[in-house]
Symmetry: C2
Subunit: 325 residues, 2 copies
């Protein structure tokens, strides 16, 4: 059994707890929290909730610690810190800062002879893998990544920060015509506006000015101003009833031409009822890989690029070759 | 530079020759043939065509030998034989015989301390990878593989063996309703007939009885009797004009449910203008990986499951993390 610790019990942490239940070779050892452990109740009976301070002894009985904090402030500090004590997996997703994060985690893990995996999930993660495989196989071609239809938590948060907005949900939606043009092998150069639209569902505070809120939304720099945006005002009841989920997904497409002049398309897509629960499933598979690599003496920081697919599976190489190749 | 040898100069061997041109770190060292080398002219100037007998010295100056023969009789003999002398890659695709083939090649490669990769291409190969990743990530779910629209060479050959048939081409086509049901998450149990249809384009010999030929086709055991088949009779000119290519492709879909009860779908698809040229692109990427693994001291037989994705790329880990993760 691979014993998993979870640090951080938000949507992702809860997703990891659930994902472990679908993997018979893994068990949840403990959930660690910065809150008062007595105030946190988890879904799994008989598993302790412990203080994050308990991790610092380095003596917790876990094979892999899955870090479920945010990329903005939690993971840049936590992943190197805990990589010095445990094998760790995180889902760090600030693409521009991955090289720095990798260097910090790698130094900590090499020094402590632990094994760490960063930037695991679906993007970065499964989408990255598909970009890599497709680029290696079709060196002459063009890459396209589309996200959605799905809830962007960052954009939903941005809506909620607008004065007069009580609650909100934002969906990112790929433009069908752009997807069609890419699939047709037209190699289009697409602007931000041409690739995705943004759909907002907004609950106003009592007395708020809908027109003023809408103007603030559509003009918000970076978040909305470069997109075609639709804003829908609804009641809190409607939001809770129709937009409670966190679906997401997207497409990685590479179109290319062989040296013989034949067009080829490689397409990967995800359609996810729950973004955090699916991300958690990816993290748990890779936690298995990290536990194995660590038991073989691997150390330092890895990414999904560095891990042979068979390490993710509980099944033997022999069985994989017989039934899945 | 990684020096590649090609054994067998049919469609796949020619595809490998072309694919090497798109990879600056690879060069074609020689093409090996069972025919008289003087009778084989290849597309690349200045590269020798040599006799297969020259390989048997074990002294050819190649880093990886890509075996481009057939799975029925060539590869079961050739891959173990040449794995005892060189690092090798093959595209062995008789799924049921993979365990035996693996064992034979592994024994030869371990003994000779070479590195071998079998069953590389798109199915087995990229489709297998996607089945594996998707199964690890969504342990509770169902797998579906569809092939086409594409030319099945085995079925085209079967048509050509019918008395009265001068030439023929057979397309395998996924049934759209089956794809839709799978994508909708209905987890359908699909019969052979429900998954694919078969479309035949047949040139009759002069005086042949079209009705008798059609009856033989639709009743042919295994090849056609379990499918809905359409038979179209055309002239040789039309066949040559409209059906000269070898397109193929298909879909690997896994639908599953997280432990939180949310449905997720992972879908991978290929749309290939040329089956042999694309397969060759995959072989060449993996030849790079095999050359690297061998230079690190790896030995024995591998499959795509055993090879970390980064090994396929000519780009450094640092660059991959910065630009593709």
């Amino acid at each position: 059994m691979t014993r998993i610790g979870i640090l951080g019990y938000g949507n992702l942490g809860r997703g990891v707890e659930l994902a472990i239940r679908q993997n018979d070779d893994m068990e949840l050892a403990a959930v660690y929290t910065r809150r008062d452990p007595a105030s946190v109740s988890i879904a799994t009976e008989g598993v302790p909730v412990r203080s994050v301070a308990d991790l610092e002894t380095g003596n917790e009985d876990i094979d892999v610690l899955i870090l479920c904090g945010g990329s903005a402030t939690d993971l840049p500090e936590q992943t190197p810190k805990y990589a010095a004590l445990y094998n760790v997996v995180d889902s760090f997703d600030t693409h521009a800062n991955i090289p720095t994060h990798f260097a910090n985690v790698d130094a900590a893990a090499r020094n402590a002879r632990t094994c760490a995996l960063i930037s695991c999930g679906w993007d970065p993660g499964l989408f990255s893998l598909n970009r890599l495989y497709a680029n290696c196989i079709l060196p002459q071609g063009a890459d396209y990544t589309f996200w959605g239809r799905g809830v962007s938590q960052g954009h939903s948060d941005a809506l909620r920060r607008i004065p007069g907005v009580a609650d909100a949900r934002q969906y990112t939606i790929p433009v069908p015509a752009a997807l069609d043009a890419v699939r047709a092998g037209d190699n289009p150069q697409l602007t931000t506006r041409q690739k995705h639209t943004r759909e907002c569902w907004v609950v106003l505070e009592e007395g708020a000015d809908a027109q003023a809120v809408e103007k603030q939304i559509v003009e918000m720099p970076n978040y909305f101003d470069e997109y075609d945006v639709t804003v829908n005002f609804i009641s809190q009841e409607e939001l809770d009833r129709d937009h409670a989920g966190l679906p997401h997904g997207g497409f990685v497409i590479r179109t290319g031409t062989t040296a013989g002049g034949n067009d080829c398309r490689i397409e990967y897509s995800l359609d996810l009822g729950s973004n955090p629960e699916f991300t958690a499933c990816v993290l748990v598979s890779y936690a298995r890989a990290v536990a194995r690599l660590a038991s073989e003496g691997a150390k330092g920081c890895k990414t999904v690029f560095d891990i042979a697919p068979a390490y993710l599976s509980p099944v033997s190489g022999e069985e994989l070759r017989a039934h899945m190749l």
